[in-house]
């Protein structure tokens, strides 16, 4: 299987299309960082307008940690789309190129083949996320400096001490990796059913958009299914940026307010991955290769 994985990784990283995603992420982050650097004050005034009428804030609110948080929020839809570009093409691309029929006449097990391809797309997703982390966190810190992080949620705001932030980002990016691998698994599964590249990519993106809409609208009709949608759980990375307070409303450093939510989401996402990959193996084993 290692041999197959090596080959799959080789194919992914030699293909020009792969680098579109890296380029796109770089461009998007650069644009947002530039915008914030130039118009940061106006942006902060807008965001803090409500609180700003009662409070005055001192310190570097628009710091690297905060900018990274903004970036992660904004890229919520974009990164999954970029991942679909590769993941949803893993099988359909081979069929489209005509190489699938040659690959499967070789003495390799179909299960191993599918797993190798999936792991390769998972590794690709990880490298994309590492790239994202470097740009969104480290470059932001370099450009905007560090300070305490001030996060505004719907009904309360959270201030996290500068020395209490980094480990949260490690956790958040790790969680994001799991979420993005879930997206990859979905795309991968859908790519089994077509022999052209576009179909599965569009299908994956559509699924994500529709389920995101269902996840974010507070309509009672949707509330019953929300907990089962993976897009609902993909945003749980934000829970890393909330703290517990003691009886006197003092922040307890190094804590997370709702760790159970994180654990639940990790389990749900992992189950989704196992389900998609398992289904992929099952479908692929029975598939007649006509391409």
């Amino acid at each position: 299987m290692w041999k197959l994985l090596q080959i799959e990784l080789f194919k992914i990283y030699r293909r020009p299309r792969t680098y579109i995603a890296f380029g796109a992420i770089t461009a998007m982050i650069a644009i947002i960082q530039l915008g914030l650097k130039v118009d940061g004050k106006e942006y902060m005034e807008f965001v803090m307008a409500d609180l700003g009428s009662t409070f005055s804030f001192e310190g570097n609110l628009l710091n690297g940690y905060f900018v990274c948080f903004v970036l992660l929020n904004l890229l919520l839809i974009h990164v999954p789309l970029l991942i679909s570009l590769i993941a949803a093409d893993m099988i359909s691309g081979e069929a489209n190129m005509g190489t699938l029929r040659l690959l499967l006449t070789k003495p390799i097990s179909r299960t191993e083949f599918i797993l190798a391809k999936f792991f390769a797309s998972a590794i690709y997703t990880l490298t994309l996320l590492i790239w994202l982390a470097v740009l969104a966190l480290f470059v932001s810190i370099a450009v905007f400096g560090t300070d305490d992080m001030f996060v505004m949620k719907n009904y309360y705001a959270v201030q996290i001490s500068a020395d209490d932030v980094f480990w949260r980002y490690v956790g958040a990016f790790g969680f994001a990796a799991l979420a993005m691998i879930t997206v990859a698994a979905l795309g991968f599964f859908l790519s089994l059913f077509a022999e052209n590249s576009i179909g599965p990519i569009v299908a994956t993106i559509s699924v994500i958009i529709v389920t995101t809409i269902l996840s974010t609208m507070s309509i009672p009709l949707f509330n019953a299914i929300k907990p089962y949608l993976f897009t609902t759980h993909m945003v749980t990375w934000k829970e890393f940026f909330d703290e517990k307070v003691d009886a006197e409303n003092n922040v307890i450093k190094g804590t997370i307010e709702n760790p159970d939510r994180i654990i639940t989401s990790v389990i749900v996402l992992s189950l989704h991955i196992v389900a998609f990959v398992g289904a992929s193996i099952w479908v692929f084993k029975k598939k007649d290769v006509l391409s």
Binding site: R14, G98, T99, L290
Partner: protein, 311 residues
């Protein structure tokens, strides 16, 4: 002589449509086995089943004396295939493609072996070039290199001459002959081009609508000493009547386009000619028809299609 391939009762249904229907045949070591049939007859489907690309609905496939089911790994490592036009990774070079596919076979293939293989198909100079710059013929040669790089015992070629120019077709023919005669390989080649099969095959299987029509040695099927003649006379009807009441009766074939068709030993042609002259059947034209093409059209549904066109 071992059966390299033994197929029994092979059936494949796509949504109840039988693309292959109770097909049985065997290929022996050293054969150049030709699959003949029109487009859509079931040749590709059969070949894909041999290569595990498609799962049979029914039937048994044995390769190298082992059941395909359950011995996939062992069996496939001894087969090299080119299926339709060879598609490789366009964004990789010829060498990278060859190396990639070679890695997937169970054997260890050295850099030198890879270069030798490219040399053999005339691509050594272009080893580092990306395949997207290759012509169809070059891609074909690469496909063959990939099929042969792990020195398989059995080589399966599905429509290998598709899209090739006459030179390319000749190259394929020579390759098959070389592999068979000089390297002792067993080869299965499918085509709808009769002339190609005729030149290389030692045995032929003719498939029509998923079923076996004929299986036999080339010698049995297209006897070069026989020929088919089409006669056009002033009065074909009376001429035909005269022939029917003569010793030539058994050699008469169904009429085509109103012409009189006779199948006979080549050496009897002068005798026929004499008979016609002696009996006042005035000849407008006397055409020998290519035996295999006629035979083929005769026995397959191709005849009906041709007739439908001409009527």
């Amino acid at each position: 002589m071992q059966d390299i391939i033994k197929v029994t009762g092979l059936t494949k249904k796509f949504d109840r449509f039988p693309a292959v229907n109770e097909l049985s045949f065997s290929v022996q070591e050293g054969d150049v086995y030709g699959f003949l049939g029109q487009n859509g007859a079931g040749k590709s489907t059969t070949i894909r089943m041999l290569l595990t690309l498609i799962a049979p609905t029914k039937g048994e496939i044995e390769l190298f004396g082992k059941k395909l089911q359950g011995n996939k790994h062992e069996v496939l490592s001894q087969i090299g295939a080119v299926i339709e036009k060879p598609d490789v990774y366009k964004y990789l070079s010829a060498y990278e493609n060859l190396k990639l596919f070679a890695k997937l076979s169970d054997k260890k293939i050295t850099h030198q072996q890879l270069m030798d293989q490219l040399e053999m198909v005339g691509l050594a100079q272009r080893a580092k070039d990306k395949v997207k710059t290759f012509s169809q013929g070059m891609k074909q040669r690469l496909g063959i290199a990939i099929a042969l790089v792990h020195d398989p015992k059995l080589i399966i070629l599905d429509e290998p001459t598709n899209g090739l120019d006459p030179q390319g077709i000749a190259d394929i023919r020579n390759l098959i002959l070389h592999l068979s005669r000089d390297r002792n390989k067993t080869i299965v080649v499918s085509s709808h081009l009769l002339t190609e099969i005729e030149h290389v095959a030692t045995k032929v299987l003719i498939i029509d609508r998923g079923r076996k029509l004929v299986e036999g040695t080339a010698a049995e099927l297209f006897d070069p000493s026989q020929t088919i003649i089409e006669l056009d006379t002033f009065d074909n009807a009376s001429g035909l009547a005269k022939l029917q009441s003569s010793r030539w009766n058994t050699m008469l074939q169904p009429s085509r386009e109103g012409l009189i068709v006779v199948k006979l030993d080549k050496k009897d042609t002068p005798a026929l000619n004499r008979y016609l002259v002696e009996n006042g059947i005035e000849i407008l034209s006397l055409q020998p028809r290519h035996s295999l093409e006629d035979y083929f059209l005769q026995i397959t549904s191709g005849k009906q299609h041709v007739e439908a066109f001409t009527n």
